[in-house]
Amino acid sequence: MSERLDQSIPDLVTRFPEWVRLDERAGYAGFVVAADHLITVAWALRDEFGYDYLSSITAVDYLPEDCLEVVYHLYRSIGGGALVLKVRTGRAQSRVPSLVHLYPGAELQEREVWDLLGVHFSGHPDLRRILTWEGFAGHPLRKDWREPFFEEEVKPYKSRWPEGQPRRIEDQNPYQNNLAYPAGFDAESWTPDGDEALYSTLTRGTGQNGLRTDQMIVNLGPQHPSTHGVFRIVALLDGETVVDLKPVMGYLHRNHEKIGERNTFLQNMPFTDRLDYINSMSNNFGYALTVERLLGIRPTERAEYLRVIMAELTRVLNHLFAVGFLLNDLGAFFTPMIYVIEERELILDIFEAVSGSRMMCNYFRFGGVSRDLPAGIEQKIRDLVFDRLPRKIEELDAYLTGNEIVRARCEGVGVLTAAQAVALSTSGPVLRASGIPYDIRRADPYSIYDRFDFDVCVRYHGDIYDRYLIRLEEARQSLRILAQALKDLPEGPILAGKPQHTVRVPAGEAYGRVEGPKGELGYYVVSNGKANPWRYHVRAPSFINLTALAEMSRGGKIADVVTILGSIDIVLGEIDR
C-alpha cells in the first residue's frame, strides 16, 4: 500500500480501542474489527470520516487457522486510497452483521460471499445463493470443498508430466462417479423448489391512483436477446409499470476464483481475459498490477506506456461497442452496431498483431508485457488515433446524439441520483453520469496515469442519455491520452528482469484496482508464499453495477428496463465469473 494512502487513514484504534486493532501480520494492512461492533465502526467511517463508498466485499478461508475473514475495501468518493476492514468469524458458525442498511451496494456482494464461502450475514434482507443454484451443496470457495472433476489441490498436475496420461477428464472421472449427494438425499422423490422464494422477495406496491390493481410477475430471460447473454430479470409489474425487480444471475458461472486458486500466479493471466471478454487488456492490467504490488516490482518505462496504450484502445472499443448495443436495445437494430464494429475490428487488428489474439490477448506479464510492437504497428495505431477514430466518433455523435427518438427514449429514464449511485457502489460511467467525478485514474492513480493530461468526464442527470454521452466523451478523452502516450513512447526493454513462468510471491495480501471501461475492476489476491494464490477474488464492475438496476427501473415502464440494462453495459462473463 502506498504512503500517500497511509496519511489519510483515520486512527480507528484510538477511536475504538476495545473493538478495533491493527492487522499486524507481515504483508497485510488494515484494521481487524470485532464482528459484533462492525456496524458501529462502519457507521462512524461513513458519517464521520467520509468513507461513503464500499467498493468490495470478499472473504478468505484461512483453513489452517480455522477461521473465515471477511474483507471490506472502503473509499472516499472524493478520492484517495483504501481503508481495509477485516472481520474474523469461525468456519462452523459464521456470523457477521450485514452492512446492507448502511451501504446498499453490499447487497449482491454479501450474497456472493454467502454463496461461495458460506459466511452468514445477519440482517441481510435477501440472503439467498446468487451464482450457484439453490440446490447446490456446500460453499465452493472454502478450501476443503472439491469440485466434481477434482484432480489435485494445485496445478501443475502430475498426471500430465511426468506421468504423461493423455486421458480426458471425463474418462478418468466419468459422469455419475463425480457426484456427491447429501446424506439422506433421494433423487427420485426430490422435487426442486420453485421460484417462490425468489418471488417472495419482491416488494409489492399499493396500486396506482388508489385503484386496486392486479400485479403480475414477468420473467425476462434467461434466454432473451436483449439481456446481452444468459441473464434473467424478474419484474413485478402493475400494468406496464415496474413495481419491483430482481436480477438473477449465475447461468454462466464457472467459479473463476476457484480455478484461479488452483492455478499458479501466471496461469491466471489468460483466465482474466475471459472475464469481460470485450476488454481483455484492462483485465490483464488489473491482475498484473495486483501481483506486482505483492512482488514489489515495477514494470519498465516502455511497458508502462504500452500498457496504457492498450488499455485506452480497449476503452475506446468498449465504449463504442456499448453505444452500439444501447442502440440495439432501443430498437435501432444493428445499423449503429455495425458501424461501430468497423472501428472495433480495426482496433482488434492491432491487438492481434501485437498479442497474437483478437480478444483473448493475454498480453501483460508481471513486470511488463509479453511482446514488443511488431514493425509497422505503431504507424497503424497512429493512423487510428490521429485520423480515423476522432472522425468516426464525431460521425457517431452526429448520427445519434440529436436523434429525437434516442432522446425521447433516454432522457429522464432510468435515473440514478448521485447519493444513490455512491450508496449502491456503482462505478465507471454509471457513477460519473450521476454527477460523481470519480475516476480511479485520477482519484487513486495507478501506473503512469498521473503523467497524462485528460479530463474526468461527469454529467449530472444520471439518466440513460447521460450515460450514453459520458461514453462518447470518455472515448474522446482516451484518444487524448493515446496521443500523449504515443508521443512519449520511449525505447527500451518491455519486461523487468527475465521472463519467468514460476514467480515466488511473498506472503501477504494486495488489492489492485483499475478504471476498467465498465467501472472499477479490482483484484484481491492473498499469497501464502507458495506458487499458487491462496485467495484470488475479482471485484467485477458489471456485477456490482447491477445492484442499481432495481433502483433505476422502479416506477418506469417494462420496455425501458431493457434500455436501462443496456446503459449499464454488462458482460455476463464478468458478472457470473
Binding site: K155, P156, Y157, S159, R160, W161, P162, E163, G164, Q165, P166, R168, N263, T264, L266, Q267, N268, M269, P270, F271, T335, Y339, E342, E345, L346, D349, E352, A353, V354, S355, G356, S357, M360, N362, S370, R371, P374, A375, K380, D383, L384, D387, R388, E395, A398, Y399, L400, T401, G402, N403, E404, I405, V406, R407, A408, E411, P499, H501
Partner: protein, 205 residues
C-alpha cells in the same frame, strides 16, 4: 421536447452516405476490390471506406505473424532426411499450461533403461487448449510453437481432438514460413549459443 425530426434526418443522412459510398468505392476500385490480396488489404486500412466485410471462405484475412492458434512441435530436417525433433520432454510447457492440456511421456533407452531427452509420446487435448501461447513463450528449446492454421474443424471430437506426436510435428521450414522474423531471430540466438559452447580451434589448441 418538441420533435421536429431534424436529428432523425441528420442521422439518416449518415446512413445514406454510408450506403452510397459502398457503390462509389465499388465503381472506383473496380473488380480488383474483391478476391485479391490488395483489395482485402484496402478494406482493412485506417482510411477504408465503403464495403468493410470480407467474404469468408472465398476471401480470407491474412493473419499477422504473432497470431496464435494451436501449438505444434518443430522438427529440423537432418541432411539424410530423418527428423530431429527439438523437444527434449523437459515438461516446462506441460507445467506452465493453464488448462493442463499437454501430456508428455519421456523416452528411455531400450538397452539401458535410462531416460533420453526426447518425447516418446506427446499429446495435446485441443478441446481444452485455450490458445494462450505460454507453452511457446517459455519453451527453452524453440520446440513448441503456435500455429496459424485455424481451420481444424472435425466431425468426431472423441476420435480427433487429442493431437498426438504425428499430428503435432511440423518442419522448421514450415515454421520459418509462417513466422519469418521470429524464426530468424531464434535461429540466430541458437547459433550464437552453440558457437559459445563449442570450443574454437584456438582455445582447443
Amino acid at each position: 421536447m418538441k420533435i421536429h425530426g431534424f436529428g432523425i434526418v441528420r442521422g439518416l443522412w449518415v446512413t445514406f452516405k454510408h450506403f452510397v459510398t459502398t457503390y462509389i468505392e465499388d465503381v472506383r476500385r473496380g473488380p480488383r476490390f474483391y478476391k485479391t490480396p490488395a483489395g482485402i488489404e484496402q478494406r482493412r486500412r485506417a482510411d477504408a471506406t465503403g464495403i468493410f466485410t470480407v467474404q469468408y471462405p472465398e476471401e480470407k484475412l491474412p493473419v499477422p505473424e504473432e497470431f496464435r492458434y494451436l501449438p505444434f512441435l518443430v522438427y529440423d530436417e537432418n541432411p539424410d532426411g530423418s527428423r530431429a525433433v527439438r523437444c527434449t520432454a523437459c515438461g516446462i510447457c506441460s507445467k506452465v499450461c493453464p488448462p493442463q492440456c499437454i501430456a508428455i511421456v519421456r523416452s528411455s533407452d531400450p538397452a539401458t533403461g535410462k531416460s533420453v531427452a526426447a518425447p516418446a509420446e506427446f499429446y495435446i487435448d485441443v478441446d481444452i487448449c485455450m490458445n494462450c501461447g505460454f507453452c511457446a513463450e517459455f519453451c527453452p528449446f524453440d520446440a513448441i510453437r503456435m500455429d496459424h492454421d485455424y481451420e481444424v474443424a472435425s466431425v468426431d471430437r472423441l476420435a480427433h481432438h487429442i493431437f498426438d506426436l504425428n499430428r503435432l510435428l511440423k518442419s522448421a521450414a514450415y515454421y520459418a514460413r509462417i513466422r519469418p522474423t521470429n524464426a530468424a531471430r531464434e535461429d540466430e540466438a541458437r547459433a550464437a549459443k552453440a558457437a559459445a559452447k563449442k570450443p574454437t580451434p584456438e582455445t582447443a589448441a
